[in-house]
């Protein structure tokens, strides 16, 4: 803690590039608690990489709640802020691990968190080799990306070939990293658990819309209340801790064969769907956690 710093004098920097429903709730939660917030539109800033802590914190505040909707924008800005001594939620290390599904799976698996069976490949041949082990159907996900974008079910050899050929034609090196997951036999829903620090704040089921297999709320998935069972709490906390902790959304599937499996940990939590299912003040919990970061 820096000299003279307390929750009354701190100014949280809410760094964003789009005002979503969540950003408005976070701002309101801070105002309700009389915590000062500096809204910083990352798109309008330029940052001198040689500047010092005082200059950086003057512009961005300290601590900073990183809320950029653009993953790489947020990640790179967090790198700068952290290197100058600003405390950022979530940290660079957490964002790096959570922003890439392959890194997330490796991190979770190493910590003993249950994850779906997943293989990586780097060419069409490699994908077919992976499918020999995983079988059809399998799920192909981009390593970086959200909201279910470009996720595909590999149903058979022919569709797989077409999908990989299409991805090869897209001029994006990250799309040539193939993250292939065994299809998980599960109810048509997943579970979103929001973890703030060492507390499970709320959980919701997310049901796929009728015309889609993906459960992302951004794709029209519907949220319903989900009880926080001891098993769910344990898995979510373990997953959050494994990636480094902070404000996180742990997404789990209920495998009929293996129980809860964590398939994703999100580092810029969207909680609008979840908030509609609970009375818990999620934004308030997040703001209090960020304000409390200066004490830790």
């Amino acid at each position: 803690m820096r000299i003279g710093e307390s929750e009354m004098t701190i100014e949280i920097g809410l760094v964003y590039d789009r005002i979503r429903w969540e950003e408005k709730q976070l701002l309101k939660a801070a105002q309700d608690r009389e915590i000062k917030v500096k809204m910083v539109d990352s798109r309008k800033e330029s940052v001198n990489l040689l500047s010092n802590y005082e200059e950086i914190s003057e512009t961005f505040g300290d601590p900073v709640l990183q809320r950029c909707i653009s993953y790489f924008r947020g990640l790179h800005l967090t790198a700068i802020l952290e290197s100058k001594g600003v405390r950022v939620v979530n940290s660079f290390d957490v964002s790096l691990k959570c922003g890439n599904k392959l890194f997330t799976t490796l991190t979770l698996s190493k910590a003993g968190v249950p994850v779906p069976e997943t293989m990586a490949a780097f060419t069409m041949d490699g994908v077919f080799k992976a499918l020999n082990d995983l079988g059809y159907p399998a799920v192909l996900k981009p390593v970086v990306g959200s909201w279910g974008r470009l996720m595909a079910i590999l149903k058979d050899k022919e569709t797989t070939q077409a999908i990989i050929e299409l991805r090869e034609k897209i001029n994006n090196a990250l799309l040539q990293i193939y993250y292939v997951q065994k299809w998980v036999d599960r109810p048509p829903r997943d579970i979103r658990v929001v973890v703030v620090g060492d507390e499970v704040v709320a959980a919701s089921y997310r049901y796929s819309p009728v015309d889609d297999w993906r459960t992302n709320v951004a794709r029209g998935g519907k949220s319903e209340a989900c009880p926080i069972t001891p098993e769910l709490e344990e898995v979510a906390l373990k997953a959050a801790e494994a990636v480094g902790g902070g404000v996180l959304a742990v997404d789990c599937m209920e495998s009929r064969e293996k129980g809860l499996l964590v398939h994703e940990v999100n580092n810029t939590v969207e909680f609008r769907g979840l908030a509609s299912t609970t009375n818990v003040d999620i934004a308030g919990k997040i703001i209090e956690y960020v304000a409390g970061v200066v004490k830790r």
Binding site: I19, D41, S70, F72, R149, N267
Partner: protein, 57 residues
């Protein structure tokens, strides 16, 4: 307050407690606009940034 859609001239409702940077959608043509509150408090609507491939959570 009401604003005019720069695309189709439709009427867009902008609430009084709007925050700089908030997105409004034209109910007539469906275009998304970002609200820019200028120094004198005047509201300007500029086309919202298009979803990028790294957007999300």
């Amino acid at each position: 307050m009401k604003a005019r859609c720069p695309e189709c001239d439709g009427e867009i409702e902008v609430y009084d407690d709007v925050i700089n940077g908030e997105i409004v959608t034209c109910p007539e043509c469906g275009m998304d606009f970002e609200v820019v509150i200028e120094e004198k408090g005047e509201i300007k609507l500029v086309p919202a940034e298009v979803e990028g491939e790294d957007w999300g959570e």
